[in-house]
Symmetry: C2
Subunit: 353 residues, 2 copies
């Protein structure tokens, strides 16, 4: 779990104070990975103090992170510095969170990041790493995974060393998120809750977190009583609790299928979840009804027919990716999931999207 967290509007101002005691020397820099949407945004960047060899790396977020990209970032750091960094700080959405986590792990674990996609393959503790989300919903700020697209699969590096050492939850940082993005990413959290609460892995720990996040999502996306600030605050907490819920259970059908879309078509995770979830009445009847209400309330138009022009081979690539995520299916359907989830079934589902 995340060892330390601060919460509050304006808490981003504590960054210097939080980092100062962690500095290991003038040759051990802090590396800041910042979503490139903030390039030139003085309101945010002026609050990042660079000393000695500290560096800001702006991260393009058009595509989800790749293992090759992580390996490149790690190499850049090793070539530029005589010592390991004092810390890695991610400031952005799920992509940046995952990059910060993956780089901090790969600085202390030999080889290529693709070799660590899976569960508990990491052997050494990561470099000190800090997560500062600027959009809410992914749960990446609290999770024990970092989802990467590798040469063979889209899969997380899941380990006890993955979670951030420090998280700064400042809801004010989410104030300029565009509405569509706000919805898609918020729905990532909503889908986490539905998948966790309806999964066979559920226990009282995950349930209590999942229920709270679910309730917050209903308030935020279907209620009419929240101020904009309250809504930002609560969505940041929903993301946190939703992330905690799946950390101790598992996601399900929507994530498995969404990973397929992401792998083949590069569909981003949030919108991918929405596209998929819209067609999952069979698996999550109540959740999907509620999702459709939320979509209608916020006038969200999802892309249609993104799989219409795919050939059989392409569809099969997505199906392979989806089926490889066995823990997700086992959580969603149960131990005998292979009886119910056939290639034909997934083919039919993908063709609806």
């Amino acid at each position: 779990m995340v060892s330390r967290v601060v919460f509050g509007r304006g808490s981003f101002n504590q960054l210097d104070e939080i980092l100062a005691p962690m500095r290991k020397g003038r040759n051990a820099p802090f590396i800041f990975y910042v979503d490139d949407v903030f390039k030139g945004n003085h309101w945010l960047t002026s609050r990042i103090t660079l000393s000695y060899k500290d560096k800001i790396v702006y991260v393009p977020t058009k595509e989800e992170p790749k293992t090759s990209q992580i390996d490149q970032y790690v190499e850049d750091i090793i070539l530029a510095h005589s010592e390991l960094p004092s810390g890695i700080i991610g400031i952005g959405g799920g992509i940046v969170m995952d990059i910060a986590k993956a780089v901090s792990l790969m600085l202390t674990n030999k080889g290529e990041s693709k070799d660590y996609q899976g569960w508990d393959l990491i052997k050494n503790p990561a470099i000190y790493h800090v997560g500062i989300p600027t959009i809410s919903g992914t749960g990446a700020e609290v999770s024990r995974t970092t989802i990467l697209t590798g040469p063979e699969r889209k899969l997380g590096i899941n380990s006890d060393y993955t979670p951030f050492d420090q998280v700064i939850l400042d809801p004010e940082l989410t104030k300029d998120v565009p509405k569509d993005q706000w919805f898609y990413t918020g729905m990532d959290c909503f889908v986490h809750c539905v998948e966790s609460l309806n999964g066979t892995y559920l226990n009282a720990f995950s349930q209590s977190y999942g229920e709270k996040a679910f309730e917050l999502c209903q308030d935020i996306f279907l209620g009419d009583n929240l101020s904009e600030k309250d809504s930002q605050d609560k969505l940041m907490m929903a993301s946190w609790h939703g992330g905690m819920s799946i950390a101790y259970s598992q996601v399900g059908v929507a994530h498995a299928l969404s990973y397929g879309l992401g792998y083949l078509l590069g569909v981003k995770h949030g919108i991918g979840n929405c596209i998929v979830f819209d067609h999952l009445e069979e698996f999550y009847p109540e959740g999907v009804v509620m999702f459709k209400k939320m979509k209608a309330k916020h006038n969200i138009e999802l892309p249609q027919g993104i799989c219409a022009d795919l050939d059989e081979q392409q569809l099969n690539v997505m199906i392979d990716v989806a089926l490889s995520l066995e823990p997700l299916w086992e959580n969603a359907i149960g131990k005998n999931w292979k009886n119910k989830i056939t290639r034909e079934k997934l083919m039919t589902l993908y063709k609806l999207m």
Copy 2:
């Protein structure tokens, strides 16, 4: 925050596996502090494996922990072993949790534990420490404090180093808790939620945890639909969330007054909170109504008149202890609490108890 947690009935069986990688050598023992109610309870103790110089210390829990007791435990360890322990493991209720946390801190911080009562006075990280609660409600398994009675005051050692490195939440361990104790300790959690949710320090982080714990308490103590096992599972989670809620806000009037009772009369924390809370309609009207319903439903008879025979000097000692807890009053009443909370007011309240 707690770095690692496992949850589940039977998860206590993972203890060996969890500790093994943390062993630093044959001269660096694990010290297990175990509530003496488990002495001779083979069902529990047979699952604690002792190797090399590991040791079980049975802890009497008639009285709340004292700073002198912590200093004695630390001295015992230092005199008996050539190296610092590999870890300190607490297995029991709030008292044992607090002892394990305090000993692990005082093994690496010089001087006497009374010198660290307060906020953020601890300078060095603690020895690796593990908490395994066997009763639910105190939140001590998750909090960043360890409440000790010192020569001058009853106050916690609050620090970022206080929380456990590892917690094992196994609801099965709570199966033999006597009913009265179950109620008093559960109410500690309920009171945490009421104080946190009605406090001026409240933020969306604490609120989301507090609301979930509050809802679970209602289910457990006023509902009729839970099986015994579900009730145990949920109370363990309520305790966790309630503890998280106050960790990021603060407790209030009940805790301030209860500390006075504890300091002078040795009244234990759970029952002390109940005795006090029963008279706090003025501060927490809805919470107190609900508390009285819970008390009635479970046929709990609280001690009456425990302050009846106290003289003025004794009452003043309790009032001094209560008033010294300024953050609690500020949270409960606001910055101008001194206008409302006078010595006379507290005298009147204590005389009701």
